[in-house]
Subunit: 284 residues, 6 copies
């Protein structure tokens, strides 16, 4: 007898019980202030993943050698940010309770807050490594405190000062850059210089790793809502990911792909490679 | 001395004081459940309007002969539907207080509720004529009561049963069609048959007129988020608008253009023609 | 415990055993002579189907009231037409053996031959109703006898003269039109005139129903590889489908959507509506 | 020995000496006031023509049965309208001198003036039948008298009042409509009503036939720079062309396809069908 | 009372009298020989600018701290190059007469000539720094001397030999490269090597600075009509701009963005960042 | 008398007899496993080539100084790989028999096998230099041995072990990388390190040079069916080509451009530059 159509990220076909990593999509973009569309990222990435090899020539490892479960996409109501974050948090909590690592595919960057809230409950000494073009440190955006432009500020308020390390930042208003200078976060503009020192200093500590893909240069990754020239290359991002994966990663996400903005599909292909390398780097 | 760059819909260059009609944009699409993007409608329409003639060969009238003011776009926070509706309502209220007719350009259809709330305060015996592919009569959408899929239901609850006339409807769940059958609204599926009778029956009463452009067939208007085949032609829509404009229109809107979904620009051109004919039909 | 991500056409979530209809995709376009891309049709339709209502205002029926199983997409090798057809035939044979109705989503039109071969084994008195812009009656295409441009010719050779009824045809070379005139098939150009008589004459006989979506006008359905102006409207196609569904349909397919050619998504939305109405018309 | 790569419109492979019709492209769009791009029309149409059948099911005729020569595209300097028109006129003159019928593919509509000037020299009693969405009767456009928006005005001034018959017009400023009302031209708005009477009255007279493809509805033909809703269907246009072709056509053109505005390619496919039917209707 | 809708480049909201820099658009592309479309650059950039931050992390400066006036777009007739250049020159002259710095947004590169003519009247010892992929040194293009491909040749004839410094050049015919070798201009191929020496040598002299954005690599900036691989990165361009801004800049422009060629919007985002950094570097 | 429209790659207008290099297109993509469309590469490149200069600032050479013949595109049946390869081989054989160098424009990479078979007959000691993102070393793809993913494996089986040098490889399954490690081919991952040594070792030997353009980074070349991040820059590829052209090249090809995937046209422009530099480097 045939079973109903199953579709997972390629190489992520493990059953839940056997899996050490759980991928899930958080298709939410209600607070996006410029071009929306990241809600389709996880769906399109999953669908396009069958065009990607499971083997990495960077790490000489293969996804099919590991146990990864694809939980599909959460069903999130648009227009109610707090409820969406709660639903995300609930899912992450259950994954964490089962001793598995949650890897979320956004969605706009605000979704990070939902998973971070869940992870922080389990790991009160949480640190965050944040790759992004944008500081995401606004107090609010047109009065809304739950906004993609404020998500790291909210995380900072949650986990405390000095625990967030930002890399690749090249856009924000003056107040955001000042907020970092005041010591709330540690911010590196434009690139990953200093990352290995940060990694060395965080050895053993629980780390949440959030990658806003617009940290990549717009030439590499035009498929995102707010494009910022002057970003890093794909190879630099992969190297930085391999560096970070040495740490005790207790939760992570990739976000801000907006597939329809890049009709060539190249941005989706890039996001999938980043996902593959991140997954393999987390599989010990 | 040069003044700063002014950009209005073509032919809508009147000063506020002289104007009898006030156009404004409501760029909001946070509750869109499928493809977002209607937030860009008013901006793109305004910009593209310089490619349209101000003269109508349908009505032998010219926009430049009337006084229409373009109030620009409201600045609405994404991710907070209630606040966006309140901001819309406040603007409409001030326009109404000055004795002018508000004509709103959406945005998703939910924005209609903001203006209807303002108009209803002034006209307690308000009726609504609603052109749309979708019934928009859901009790809620994934638990959210403020949703583009529920907006006419909310209007119905606000102004009372039997006062809403829906035309062109060809999509909805079974409950929505049943809701109409139960008499809450008067619904005509697929086309405008019966419209002239409705217009005759509403003579003299205050009427809000809301046009969801997806009432048009997808061949005519592919540039919308949730496309429904089997709609009306452009000529049928224009004729219906001319019919309705005989009534005592006290507020109106056009919504659901999502310009980037139709890269040819044809959907935007269609929306602009609808706007021109609606404006001219309202100018007596 | 969570189960792996299941993705089906909306409203087609039945288990195989309970189902009376089995949908499956045949993603093959190797012989397409102009613009390829129909291989992505079933995948994209399935993914986009969550934006469609399960309720039909045309038939007042709902997909969720019936038992339809989605078998996913076959894995077909590109570049070997005969093997692809055999794999399609094998799947259809097993569905037929279980007493269920196969409904295939192409792919290019050649895939029809695979299912027809399977159906013909079970129903030697098979007749075919064929909606298309193209005659598909070529002896061969650049020497290849297995070609999308020859598929109805192959079907004709298989099931015999006088058993195929073609409607909407408006493109072909002179020989194809002559081939029909010689009586091999019954061909109606441009529209569906005469369809009800054909349906009346076929009552009780086993009928295979194949719909090349390019029978629709290019304005309605630009998303196909070889676009032919002058086709039928959506409403005419739906009416024709409802007419045909009175017959003893023993197999059917919808084909030639090429989603990436219509970036608005409107063609996919149209294809989904056609699928919904076809499914519901087959559910008694 | 191999000869260099020859590319012609499909079915237009005759040598010049044997041909009765000469097709040529006039890739010019310098005065386009909104979206340029018609310069690519002839090139793209020629390239895409290999996807079209040479046989017409409308006329039961085949391009391969007639002698049509494809002269390629003229090389026209951008930014100098008068010189471009002179180069067009020179080419048309040589075609006319050889007793052949020139059929020009625009380009923007201004190119019509170049060929009309040449044809008028040979046929001083020239009449013009003009299908278009736009009146093209402006005195000038921002001071330029050689403009796509003025081309029929210029033709009128050249050949005299009362000799131009316009159909399908649905856009222009008030002065253009008044200009027609004053009797300079005979204008029919929106459709082809009255065409058969005009054709009857012009029997035997030399007629130039110019088709601006935007006379088609935007649903059928979005691929044009200034899109006007409310146009005619493909079938109505074909019927009108067949009607006109009974006349003594001494020159003709098709213009205003802007292929990149319709990435589906459907507009180009429509233009090619119009060209095929026009060509076949001219082949007696 | 409400005022009509004002739209300016973000952060350029100063009144004219207070401004030291005046931005204006020159939407002209009539002589473009390949793909037109740069006429939309200033309009689209202005509209998209609301998605950009006014603060620069490169210079730690903010547009809102300076007085910049946005004069909107000039209304230029298409198809008459000389008149368009005169209109541009007139505007630039009035800006210069008021002691302000003109910053023009093209349009095709030919528009540079209009502003250079105005600037040269005021500064007879004018020098030009020219960033571009193309030499733009043709004597003429198909006979037209006013062409985007000849603009620097015309500037050279106007201001004299040895006063133009070209960087990044990687396309042209042999004669153009020879023309530079003969000493008419100083040309650096491919990159900015030698720029700091040039800047040192020009200290104190009046300099016009013209940036054809296609100096950027096509990966960074695909949204331009004639794309040339092998260009510079965004960071290299920004560094070069900061270097040049030390000079006595008396006029400048950015040109050749063709927004619709890059539907992701990334090229427009890049152009806006270049504009922001150029503006801030000019604000002392 | 006018001759029929001739269209060749710009600068490739030589007669066959005088030519030393023969360009031809092999428009075939039937075995493409992901996104098809490379069949349009040669056609679109030829058409767009008129926007490219014939002069190279990299080599200070001009295409118009050499004799290159453009043989147009082969007419290849889709869906029959063996026959397509035979037709390609026959054409290449006749070119080789006339003492000319064949330069093929794909199409998918499988077409390489057709020309290699022809070249190998003439040069039994053939070596191959292969630039690609993909190893193309699969034994078969879903059972098909003639596949774009197996083409270098087939070449290896034809010409023997140790004679193929692969550069830039960054995608494949584990078996492909192992196959190379076993010594069948010499594979360099990611870049061109070691190329000069390989070139030195092959001096005087007959070499076939095949360039899959997806060796370029996706930022430079998104217009290809299976996009792999992390590739080389345009400048690195040009330098590598200049290095290889010192060898005794007896056949070569460029393949895997899929023009419609990059609607900006930038990928086609890149492919044309690669073609120009390759051609000029082969012209001694």
């Amino acid at each position: 007898m045939l079973s109903r159509n199953i579709e997972t990220f390629i190489g992520c076909e493990s059953e839940y019980d056997e899996a050490s990593i759980v991928i899930f999509g958080a298709p939410f973009d209600s607070t996006t202030s410029f071009r929306p569309g990241t809600r389709f990222a996880s769906r399109v990435m999953r669908s396009e993943s069958f065009g990607m090899e499971t083997f990495s020539p960077y790490q000489d490892k293969d996804l099919t050698d590991y146990n990864i479960f694809d939980g599909g996409d959460l069903e999130l109501a648009f227009g109610n940010s707090r409820r969406a974050l709660d639903d995300i948090g609930d899912f992450a909590r259950s994954v964490l309770a089962d001793g598995k690592l949650p890897l979320m595919i956004g969605g706009e960057h605000l979704v990070t807050l939902g998973t971070v809230e869940a992870v922080f409950e389990k790991h009160p000494d949480l640190h965050i490594i944040h790759f992004d073009a944008h500081a995401d440190l606004r107090a609010d955006y047109l009065g809304e405190t739950l906004s993609h432009a404020s998500v790291i500020r909210r995380c900072n308020e949650l986990i405390g000062d000095g625990k967030i390390y930002q890399f690749g930042i090249r856009s924000g208003d003056r107040e955001e850059f000042n907020y970092a200078k005041e010591g709330h976060t540690t911010m590196r503009r434009f690139d990953f210089v200093g990352l290995s020192e940060v990694v060395a200093s965080l050895k053993g500590l629980p780390v949440y790793f959030t990658i806003d893909l617009d940290v990549l240069d717009t030439s590499v990754f035009p498929g995102t809502g707010t494009q910022e020239a002057g970003g890093v290359t794909f190879n630099k991002l992969i190297n930085a990911i391999l560096l970070v994966s040495d740490l005790n990663i207790v939760g992570c996400d990739i976000n801000e792909l907006s597939p329809s903005l890049d009709q060539s599909g190249a941005s989706t292909a890039v996001a999938l490679k980043v996902l593959r390398e991140l997954l393999l780097s987390l599989c010990k």
